[in-house]
């Protein structure tokens, strides 16, 4: 029985690791590497966001704000104040966690549309601060960012960045899978299933919501820091409300409450616009059509829908192979 429970987890991790290891065979030039790295960074954000949205059943329309805190925090400390980039990243991550904790307590008591509006406002405030404090951030024009240097050695080659981001994505997925499978993760899923029932068996709802909000903010912030150091330049475009929506869309498209779904969603919706560049004028329309199609035909998202399909196939095959059931076995 234990083996059966372990399989999807270990199998999924192995598949993802194999994919990351083999993908470079198909990456023909630096542009391909850039896209792959972008996919990896978005996937890290989405794996974290899915803990909050897919598993705990909360919503955030402001996660681009945490991405921005990570990106600009790291960029400003490393570039303007000459901090070692890793220390700058760590400080930015702690700042994002502290802000998520402070803001999370009051706003996570809200539900549904109210929570959506409150998180949206949080994202907008971060955006406003970044685009107006131009002495530090360069304002709407953006700012150049020091490369990720460790000691005297700077990480610049996209081919190396690819392995760094790939390893971090694997770690992000592994942490998320562990969390979901732990008592804490069960409490989060319970809050989604029935908040009142979770509370009467002893789950402190606010504490758990704040905890997962902080975790998801840390994921977004780390991805933001990495993005800033990788591309060497950052603008507020990645901190907009639109980017928050894109992130949620990736989670929903890939499949809520599915960690691998979050990765698939990030991969699909990050690469699609690149594939669609020849259709420039119609890009947004095609994207919109894909989204509507998914919501109509696979409302649970791509990965859970495919899983359900496979399970049905397998069960049907098993039923066909097995002798006819005895009456009364229908349960």
């Amino acid at each position: 029985m234990a083996a059966r429970f372990a399989t999807p987890r270990a199998g999924g991790m192995a598949a993802l690791a194999a994919l990351i290891a083999l993908l470079p065979l198909g990456l023909r030039n630096d542009y391909f590497y850039d896209v792959a790295i972008l996919v990896g960074l978005n996937a890290i954000v989405c794996v974290g966001l899915n803990l909050l949205v897919g598993y705990a059943g909360q919503i955030s329309l402001g996660h681009a704000g945490f991405f921005g805190i990570g990106a600009y925090g790291s960029a400003i400390l490393a570039t303007r104040y000459g901090w070692p980039p890793l220390a700058a990243m760590l400080a930015a991550t702690l700042a994002a966690a502290a802000i998520a904790f402070a803001v999370g307590r009051p706003i996570l008591r809200l539900r549904g549309h109210y929570l959506a509006m409150a998180t949206l406002a949080l994202g907008v405030i971060v955006y406003m601060v970044i685009s107006t404090e131009d002495r530090f951030t360069g304002g709407p024009d953006g700012m150049t960012v020091a490369p990720l240097a460790i000691g005297g050695w700077a990480l610049r080659d996209p081919r190396l960045w690819y392995w760094v981001v790939g390893a971090l994505l694997l770690a992000a997925v592994w942490f998320a899978l562990n969390l979901i499978d732990s008592p804490t993760g069960r409490a989060l899923r319970a809050l989604h299933g029935s908040e009142v029932a979770a509370e009467v068996v002893g789950v402190d709802a606010t504490r758990h919501k704040v905890m997962v909000f902080v975790v998801s903010a840390v994921y977004a912030s780390i991805a933001g820091s990495l993005n800033a150091h990788f591309s060497g330049f950052i603008t507020p475009a990645k901190v907009t409300f639109l980017h928050s929506i894109e992130l949620v869309t990736m989670v929903v498209f890939g499949g809520m409450a599915s960690t691998f779904g979050a990765v698939v969603g990030a991969a699909a919706l990050t690469t699609l616009p690149q594939v669609l560049t020849p259709l420039k004028d119609y890009e947004m329309m095609v994207l919109g059509a894909v989204m509507m199609g998914t919501m109509i035909f696979m409302p649970r998202g791509v990965v859970p829908s495919l899983q359900a399909l496979l399970t049905r196939r397998r069960d049907a095959a098993a039923a066909a192979a097995a002798p006819a059931p005895r009456p009364g076995d229908g349960q």
Binding site: A2, F175, N178, L179, D181, S182, P183, T184, G185, R186, A187, R189, A190, H192, G193, S194, V196, A197, A198, E199, V200, V201, G202, V203, D204, A205, M211, V215, A257, Q331
Partner: protein, 271 residues
């Protein structure tokens, strides 16, 4: 010191006095039933006794501790568990995981050990899984061990709520209409299950319209009407009480049915 002491408890919703100036004491180790017509305030009382509502006035003391105004998870921590009249299950999980959530308070799991899956956690998870499976067998759900909660029939879900509540290791268990919607066989099994619970050291409070069940298992009955206490005492005495017969059934003829099963809505108030 009484096990559960309720003192002048009131809950007002707008103009509705759902529970009004209610006082009673329950002793440990017994089955206490709370009966009354639809809308009498039984569910509201259970919501007050689990911290879901905070009282408009009055106090709740459990094992000598004042619990008034605490959050629901604090009530759970002090040893009070419950089931719901309208199922409140985690339909996004398996049946077994539903029960495992009930163990939440007895799990030592910080964020770091959850993220890194320390070996100690894996061992505790196995123990948790085993205890949850044991509780499912105890309430008669052995065949649903591997089933998703949303694939189970109604009667089994009612018992799943009891297993989840027991997983908190309560000393007081509040059951809100556990027999509603059950067929006679299932109701009989429930009867036996409640009987076994007191043997486990769990004091039971049963809110129920099924008079057959109530009269069979109760040591003590509290009758509510319009949020107030109408009568209280041993089952036999309450059954004979003319005020109870009047309020609860509305006619002397129906009084003969007090021994029979079935809900008894007050005329004109029932849903």
């Amino acid at each position: 010191m009484n096990f559960l002491e309720v003192e002048s408890l009131s809950k007002v919703f707008g103009g509705v006095h759902a529970v009004e100036d209610l006082s009673f004491d329950f002793q440990a180790g017994a089955v206490h039933s709370i009966i009354g017509p639809n809308g009498a305030g039984k569910t509201t009382l259970l919501n007050l006794l689990t911290g879901i509502y905070s009282p408009s006035a009055g106090r709740i003391r459990f094992e000598g501790q004042d619990l008034t105004g605490l959050a629901p998870h604090e009530f759970a921590r002090r040893g009070i568990a419950r089931t719901f009249q309208n199922l409140q299950l985690f339909f996004n999980m398996s049946a077994l995981e539903n029960v495992m959530v009930g163990r939440h308070l007895h799990e030592r799991c910080g964020l770091a050990s959850a993220l890194l899956r320390f070996p100690r956690l894996s061992r505790e998870e196995l123990a948790c899984r085993e205890e949850a499976a044991e509780l499912m067998r105890y309430v008669g759900l052995a065949r649903y061990l591997g089933t998703a909660a949303d694939a189970m029939p109604y009667g089994a879900l009612k018992r799943l709520e009891i297993a989840r509540a027991l997983a908190t290791r309560p000393r007081l268990l509040l059951l809100d209409e556990p027999a509603a919607g059950l067929n006679p066989t299932e109701a009989l099994e429930l009867d036996q299950l409640i009987g076994r619970l007191t043997g486990r050291g769990v004091t039971v409070v049963l809110v129920e319209h099924n008079m057959h069940l109530v009269m069979g298992v109760s040591d003590h009955i509290l009758v509510l009407d319009y949020g107030r206490k109408l009568a209280e005492g041993p089952a036999a005495a309450v059954r004979e009480d003319p005020r109870v017969i009047e309020a609860y059934l509305g006619s002397a003829a129906a009084a003969r049915n007090l021994g029979a099963a079935g809900a008894a809505p007050r005329a004109g108030i029932g849903p």
